[in-house]
């Protein structure tokens, strides 16, 4: 019994030990398996780490830098525009403005509404900002309003916690000290449009302005300068932590014009005495523009702020076309100011001599057609000088058929009509000098002698701009040099090359004859502009009047003897005048066109008198433009 019990106990003990050994074996095996699992999991993690840090390291490094580095563009200062004496015509004033970063604003609309309670902000502006926010990146600031007063800035600053995403800063605002007077020449700057974006990153700066018209547009690239950059480290909410690198912006170049600012202002004021007019004052020898004005004009300072839609519509509706620079873009029949060209063509062709006389009976009969002289009773016998002085139409009618349109047109072109000069202001129009080819080409009609007759006194299809008329006059009085107008004297330090103008093939005596005629127009008692003469003999001027028909004078009107000034304004003739001074060695030329001014002698000549007198007093030609003078 005991033995068997013992045996059983031993057997049980044996089993127990075996079981334990089995347990241990299973455990060891499975424990090692778990250990292996852990080690391989660690290896996977290590491998992943190596993948991220080595294989993808460069990529993530870039992303990390993109995270932390924000490059802020620094706006360059726009170059100034000054006149020939260094008087500023376009400058930059500090302006306070308020901007918004849509991303930080949360609800942009709510932020802007809150701002509306703090400062004056119209609906238009809010809608504009909202529209802009949809188009641009969320983190890019948008200008909400500029030209804030210091008090407005203070009000915004105080309430900044309630205005999420909004902040103020000081920007630059373009300002034009001469205002209306230089509006057409200088032009204005405006916000960058979508089409203009892209080429230069600086254009995407909030509130950045570029030249839209005039010199501002022509030399925009030069005056714009180059953006600087500030690399800042930013934290996750975009707050700047420190500046890593800074490249200062390069300011734009200064542009010095040949213009005389005060003369320009004077010109504008003189034109303002008329309803719609334009004028140019040139240097007869160099072609430099001293004044170039068109009235009515607009205030460019309003354009750089916020031009309201009603104001814009008003400008568009004005019959005087205040947005158009009529001195370059207005094309008018040159009328009697063209008679010098017919005379020169006739002299050159040998059809006119000093002594050849033509009888004026008040009209000229060619076949069945009758061409009227402006003086119905006739001038009697006229030579070329008298014909210019009294602006006799019949003289030129009769001789024009002998001279021929080709000679007249050629002379007109030589003197600068019918072409663009490549002037700095791109609005420049070419005018028109018709001839046989042109008429066949454009109208499909044969040139008739009647066309030549009408053209000889500057009517018909002939068109010229005031700038062209001034250049024409300059070329006649400077001894026949083919000057071209220019206005940008210095761009930065870049001195404009002084051009040696080519000489036009022309007999000196012919020019002297024409000049004598122009002298007599003003200074002879019988001259058409005698009432506008300059009394001071040292400053006396010569010139030529012109009256351009806007509408054909009907026979009924002629019979009824209706005077032109009695017609409605829009139907009245344009008044023209081209002039030069002084008589001896002329230095200055001018061209004045008074729209619907009835006649050249009553509307344009008095203006020319004032301009030439003032120009000579100021004598801008004495101031030589040179790089050293730019300092």
């Amino acid at each position: 019994m005991i033995k068997s019990t013992r045996k059983r106990m031993r057997a049980r003990e044996k089993r127990r030990v075996r079981k334990e050994a089995d347990n241990t074996k299973v455990f060891s095996r499975r424990a090692l398996f778990i250990g292996a699992l852990q080690m391989s999991a660690l290896a996977v993690l290590g491998g992943r780490l190596a993948w991220l840090q080595v294989a993808q390291g460069q990529r993530y490094k870039r992303l990390s830098d993109k995270n932390r580095i924000s490059v802020k563009m620094l706006a360059p200062v726009r170059g100034e525009i000054v006149d020939r004496f260094g008087v500023p015509l376009a400058v930059n004033n500090r302006s306070f403005r308020v901007l918004v970063i849509p991303e930080q604003a949360g609800d942009l609309q709510i932020s802007l509404r809150a701002l509306q309670k703090v400062i004056d902000l119209d609906e238009e502006r809010i809608e504009d900002v909202l529209a802009r926010a949809k188009k641009t990146a969320k983190f890019a600031p948008i200008e909400v309003k500029d030209g804030l007063t210091w008090e407005e800035v203070a009000r915004i600053e105080v309430r900044l916690p309630d205005l999420p995403g909004l902040f103020t800063d000081t920007g630059q605002i373009r300002s034009y000290p001469f205002g209306v007077a230089t509006a057409h020449v200088i032009g204005y700057v405006g916000a960058v449009s979508k089409e203009e974006l892209g080429e230069d990153p600086v254009l995407s700066l909030p509130g950045f302005k570029i030249g839209k018209t005039g010199i501002e547009k022509r030399y925009d690239r030069e005056m714009r300068g180059e953006a600087g950059a500030s690399e800042v480290e930013v934290n996750v909410v975009g707050r700047e932590v420190r500046e890593l690198k800074r490249t200062a912006p390069k300011p734009g170049k200064r542009v010095m014009l040949t213009l005389d600012g005060e003369l320009q202002r004077f010109t504008q004021e003189k034109l303002a005495e008329r309803r719609s007019a334009s004028a140019v004052v040139l240097d007869a020898q160099t072609g430099a523009v001293y004044a170039l004005a068109s009235y009515p004009a607009f205030d460019p300072n309003v354009f750089t702020h916020n031009l309201s839609i009603p104001m814009w519509e008003e400008l568009l509706a004005d019959p005087g076309h205040p947005l158009t620079n009529k001195a370059l873009a207005g094309q008018y029949p040159p009328a009697s100011t063209f008679k010098m060209i017919t005379a020169l063509a006739g002299l050159k062709a040998g059809k006119i001599t000093r002594d050849r006389r033509v009888y004026c009976s008040g009209h000229y009969q060619y076949g069945d057609d009758r061409f009227h002289c402006w003086k119905a009773v006739g001038h009697g016998y006229m030579n070329v000088i008298e014909a210019l002085m009294e602006s006799c139409d019949t003289y030129f009618y009769e001789l024009s058929t002998e001279i021929g349109i080709e000679n007249i047109a050629a002379m007109a072109r030589e003197l600068g009509l019918g072409e663009r000069f490549g002037f700095e202001l791109s609005e420049e129009q070419p005018g028109l000098v018709p001839d046989k080819n042109w008429k066949m080409g454009h109208l499909g009609e044969v040139w008739r002698p009647g066309d030549t007759i009408v053209n000889s006194i500057g009517q018909g299809q002939l068109l010229a701009t005031p700038l062209q008329l001034a250049v024409m006059t300059a070329r006649m009085v400077n001894g026949g040099y083919a000057v071209k107008p220019w206005i940008a004297g210095l761009v930065g330090e870049q001195e404009r090359e002084r051009e040696n103008w080519p000489k036009i093939e022309m007999h000196k005596g012919h020019l002297a004859l024409v000049k004598e005629g122009m002298d007599r127009v003003v200074n002879d008692r019988k001259g058409t502009a005698y009432s506008s003469r300059i009394e001071d003999p040292a400053m006396a001027m010569g010139g030529k009047t012109g009256t351009a028909q806007v509408r054909k004078i009907t026979m009924a009107q002629r019979m009824a003897g209706i005077k032109n000034e009695e017609l409605v304004w829009k139907s009245r003739h344009h008044g023209l005048f081209v002039g030069y001074a002084p008589l001896k060695e002329p230095r200055y030329v001018t061209a004045v066109v008074v729209e619907h001014g009835v006649g050249g002698s009553i509307s344009a000549a008095p203006v020319a008198h004032d301009l030439l007198l003032e120009t000579q007093k100021r004598n801008p030609a004495a101031k030589i433009l040179a790089a050293s003078a730019a300092e």
């Binding site: 250990g35 080690m39 993690l45 780490l49 190596a50 840090q53 990390s64 996750v236």
Partner: protein
Amino acid sequence: MGSPLTIQSEQNFLQKIQQLNWGLVFLILCVSAVGFTALYSAAGGSFTPWASRQMMRFAVGLVGMFILALIDIRWWYKLSWPIYFLGLLLLVAVEFMGHIGMGAQRWINLGFIQLQPSETMKIAVVMALAHYFHTASLEDMRRLRFLVVPALIVLAPVALVLLQPDLGTSLMIIMAGAAVLFMAGAPLWIFISAGTLAVLSVPVAWHFMHDYQKQRVLTFLNPESDPLGAGYHITQSKIALGSGGIEGKGFLQGTQSRLNFLPEKQTDFIFTLWAEEWGLFGGCFLLALFGLIFLYGLSIALRARQNFCRYLALGLTVNFSLYVFINIAMVMGLIPVVGAPLPLISYGGTSMLTALIGFGLIMSCHIYRDSKVTRI
């Protein structure tokens, strides 16, 4: 029979101290030092607010670890069930008086510590399972009825943790429980079929998930789809890690973390901060330290002569390693963001405490490796 008896003679206090696993202690110190360095950097080069408090907690926890280590393993054996039920009680308590954080009830404020019962429960579950399987034979393990109790041991806390709701922790309890079941010799078909079942139940689980959990999974699958939204954490963490390169950006030079692009940098994403500043070298160094700790745990388990010690030591080691794997895999974008801290390194009292308690128990297993817990 049934009463504990010893094979080895009782050790005196000094001998016990000598028996402490000093190599493991050294490794724990090293890993914690990495944590302090990272927290110092996370604060922008300052001991406040994180590093200094973490060091104090560590000091207290270390003393606690030694005390736990020196307590006789037979006491732990006896206390296994009471500890387990206390843990369950706390989990129930957190349902009623817990603090809500991140959309889940997880904490009980005990005044001196914000206790997260779900964390301590992981240890209690391992203890209870080790206790239960201590006397089991391999034949027992093959009886399905024998496995009903361990299933309940695991599923009761899992159910409570899911109520909080905390999917990550409940999954970790299941995994730790499964590991103990595995090492105790449960038949392999159980794990295979359970794994298959888990895969099949994914669509069902999806249905019961909270929106934020669904979002996390979706974001994980394609983090770049919404880099500024839900995918932000993963994307920024990967950028930080990747930009660290081989050598790292240097101590205190981690731009991603210093400029706050990195979220939760002092807690869940602390590994990212470390590897951004110390690069692949630093990252692998830390992984190696963890690996050595795992191996220490494994060797202690293999060296123990009693099942309770084996299961407890290895179970707790597995539990610790799960934390490490899940946290690091998460910040590297290998698994969805689950909100698990990196033990010994992340800032936080409970996770530090849990880890050190675990190591105290593991060391107790080591000191008393030759003790006979009970007879079978």
